[in-house]
């Protein structure tokens, strides 16, 4: 860079890069100060628990966005795997049904990935078709009834998953946190993880650098299927029931969190940990809204406004940036001087 970065600009960049942490702090402090019955161990534990499912699902979804694709089928994968996980328990026990469910999620991801990478169909179309097909499959297999378990051992597992070992922490939260930490480190610190960013940032360059872009695309879709599966199965096990629309709201939720967390739809940018913080922020916000005695409609409205403002802000920044691309400030200054003279 020829012109020195001035300190004011770099501060703004730093704020922009870490905006999700700032946003989270603001929302959290606001709720802690003003929302009744917000700041106590039980409520905060509840927030951690409710965020666990979407936080798990968001891992794979963030990777999908980083590689520059889109996966609309995560919501139905959640429901599908949850129903398999609970439905097969009768026959092969949790020890068998959970791996089967997670593998099923992975297989769906594999099909998505193959269609996107090898058949070269746009991921928007592939996952939209997969969403429709899975939705039909779910209703066909269950006959429209939700699956629930009422045996003592299922309740025991359910209770154990929701057990508060430490303040804020239940076994399911621990599983989620471990998964997030592991995949965040994998994406940021390993060569394979960094390659995902490279493929998303510029597919052509990545291919020329010797990266098998198809393989990474397929891997990202498998990751998305597997994490959606883990999220769905664990949520179903904790509540000992799987309803047929349990995953429906997750798609919007996870997309919002990923975008607010700074992951770009165009690929190559973002991080799993930031998405996680964004999920926590949304959950804190929703929890606070309910504690204020406001209804679901306020929640929907505010969620929409936040997502819209973030998208508009990002678009505006790049709009401004594009305007000055190719302009050289020192020449502009000369021009100004000439004009004055």
């Amino acid at each position: 860079m020829l012109n020195k970065p001035n300190s004011k600009k770099s501060l703004l960049v730093a704020i922009d890069r870490n905006r999700i942490f700032i946003l989270f702090t603001i929302v959290f402090l606001f709720m802690a100060l003003f929302a009744p019955r917000f700041f106590n161990v039980f409520n905060l534990t509840t927030i951690m628990r409710t965020s666990a499912m979407n936080a798990t699902v968001a891992i794979g979804f963030t990777v999908i966005l980083i590689i520059g694709q889109l996966d609309l089928s995560i919501g139905t994968i959640i429901t599908f795997t949850a129903i398999i996980g609970l439905g097969l328990k009768e026959y092969i026990g949790f020890g068998g049904s959970i791996p089967v469910a997670i593998i099923a999620g992975g297989l769906i991801g594999l099909i998505n990935g193959l269609l996107v990478a090898k058949a070269k169909i746009n991921s928007f179309i592939v996952t939209l078709g997969m969403m429709t097909a899975l939705q039909g499959a779910i209703y066909t297999f269950t006959g429209g009834n939700s699956v629930s378990l009422s045996t003592p051992d299922a309740f025991a597992v359910s209770d154990w998953l929701a057990l508060m070992i430490f303040p804020l922490v239940t076994p399911r939260v621990i599983i989620t946190l471990v998964l997030i930490a592991a995949s965040a480190i994998f994406m940021k610190r390993t060569r394979i993880g960094r390659n995902f960013y490279m493929v998303g940032g510029n597919r052509q360059t990545a291919w020329l650098a010797g990266i098998d872009t198809d393989k990474y695309t397929i891997a990202a879709f498998i990751m998305s299927g597997v994490t959606a599966g883990i999220g769905g199965v664990l949520f179903a096990m904790e509540s000992a029931a799987a309803t047929l629309n349990m995953g429906n709201s997750s798609l919007m939720y996870v997309i919002s969190a990923a975008i607010i967390g700074g992951t770009a739809m165009s690929g190559g940018k973002g991080g799993i940990f930031k998405t996680f913080v964004a999920i926590l922020m949304l959950d804190v916000l929703y929890n606070g809204i309910i504690l204020f005695g406001l209804g679901n409609e306020v929640k929907i409205f505010i969620a929409g406004i936040i997502l819209a403002s973030v998208v508009l802000y990002e678009a505006y920044v790049s709009y401004k940036h594009e305007k000055v691309i190719g302009q050289r400030p020192e020449l502009m200054k000369e021009l100004e001087v000439q004009n004055q003279a």
């Binding site: 889109l70 269609l115 058949a119 070269k120 169909i121 746009n122 928007f124 179309i125 592939v126 939209l128 078709g129 997969m130 969403m131 429709t132 097909a133 899975l134 939705q135 039909g136 499959a137 779910i138 209703y139 066909t140 429209g144 020329l208 919007m252 997309i255 919002s256 975008i259 739809m265 165009s266 209804g295 679901n296 409609e297 306020v298 929907i300 409205f301 505010i302 969620a303 929409g304 406004i305 997502l307 819209a308 998208v311 508009l312 990002e314 678009a315 505006y316 790049s318 709009y319």
Partner: protein, 352 residues
């Protein structure tokens, strides 16, 4: 490097050969020639064969054909408008479902002042949403899917905040019997007791929008903008306005769709129009409009809509359950689009 090897191999072919046509498959040829109507004819033939075999009854009757068109007419209204968004290279307008719900509920609420104020208010609301999308996506280049999803959510929030989960009924709101009757007839009026108004709207829209897309200056500018935005910008097209207009057109057809759906269900509620976003995308893409933008036609989209109608009709006559239909529809969707994309690629007409 793999790329250059392939290139060298291709150059070794005798110079007269057009390397693009060597991989011409039959399916690609059919797609290239008759477009999506080849697939529609395929479904029609399948239906006729099934009827000849005695598996299904009453397929090839005038009434059934009318029913097919009638069943997909509202989807057609929404899809031909959204096709402009796809054509401009901006995937889809996900704010369509709540645009439909909002315009419908506003129209019902305003029926107390008469029929025409109700329609005017609905169109104004639709126009507003279209303009918001136009500014955000056309001017500031916000990501179309995420932005319209956010708008969808905000609009849903507005509906639920204002009407607090209430459903409102046109016959209870309207002060005059006439206004309520006319509103009812937006969907229910039948020409010769057979052809429903929604079908007429759809046909008029197809003719009008096809003219706009193929014959007007705006349509030509939209085509080049969708295919290559930068090139369009450099050749002096007002890209921002062109893209914005496509979103406005989409919002206006969604308004018409919303009024029709509300008239059909006789209730203004936030869930009117749910699912129309994905259904419309399915129809558009099956109709041969690629998500890359600038390719396809309104006539093709109409073909996509009709195929969905035929498919649903045959499956229902076969006794396939609603949910199994979803499954089959999803698979057929991917397969048809996959074949289409592949044939375009082998023809060298698509680099996606």
């Amino acid at each position: 490097m793999e790329g250059t090897e392939v290139l060298e191999k291709k150059q070794q072919n005798s110079p007269g050969d057009d390397i693009r046509t060597t991989n011409y498959n039959i399916l690609g040829k059919i797609f290239h020639g008759a477009g999506i109507y080849a697939v529609a004819a395929l479904f029609l033939v399948a239906g006729i064969i099934l009827q000849a075999l005695g598996v299904i009854n009453n397929f090839l009757t005038a009434q059934n054909m009318l029913n097919i068109v009638d069943a997909v007419s509202m989807l057609g209204i929404v899809a031909v408008g959204m096709a402009f968004v796809t054509y401009s290279g901006h995937y889809a307008d996900m704010s369509v479902p709540t645009t439909m719900a909002l315009t419908g509920i506003i129209a019902v609420q305003m029926l107390q002042y008469g029929f025409f104020p109700a329609i005017a208010a609905a169109v104004a609301a639709g126009l507003l949403i279209g303009l918001i999308n136009a500014v955000a996506i056309g001017k500031f280049k916000a990501n179309p899917i995420i932005w319209t999803l956010a708008v969808n959510y905000v609009t849903l929030g507005v509906i639920r905040l204002v009407w607090v989960n209430k459903q409102i009924y046109p016959d209870m709101i309207a002060k005059s019997q006439w206004a309520s009757d006319v509103f009812d007839n937006i969907y229910r009026f039948r020409f010769f007791n057979k052809i429903g108004l929604p079908v007429v709207y759809m046909i008029i829209l197809v003719i009008l929008l096809n003219f706009i897309m193929k014959k007007t200056k705006f349509g030509q500018q939209l085509k080049i903008t969708g295919a290559a935005r930068k090139a369009s910008e450099f050749s002096g097209v007002n890209v921002e306005r062109v893209i914005g207009l496509s979103f406005v057109i989409c919002a206006l057809t969604a308004t018409l769709g919303g009024l029709t759906v509300t008239s059909l269900s006789r209730v203004g509620a936030y869930y009117n129009g749910a699912g129309y976003d994905f259904k419309a995308v399915t129809a558009i893409v099956i109709g041969g409009m690629t998500l890359a933008g600038g390719r396809g036609s309104i006539i093709g989209v109409l073909g996509g809509v009709l195929i969905i109608g035929l498919m649903n009709n045959i499956m229902t006559l076969l006794g396939v359950g609603t949910f199994s239909q979803d499954m089959i529809r999803g698979i057929i969707f991917i397969v048809v689009v996959g074949i289409n994309a592949k044939s375009l690629r082998t023809l060298g007409r698509d680099d996606a």
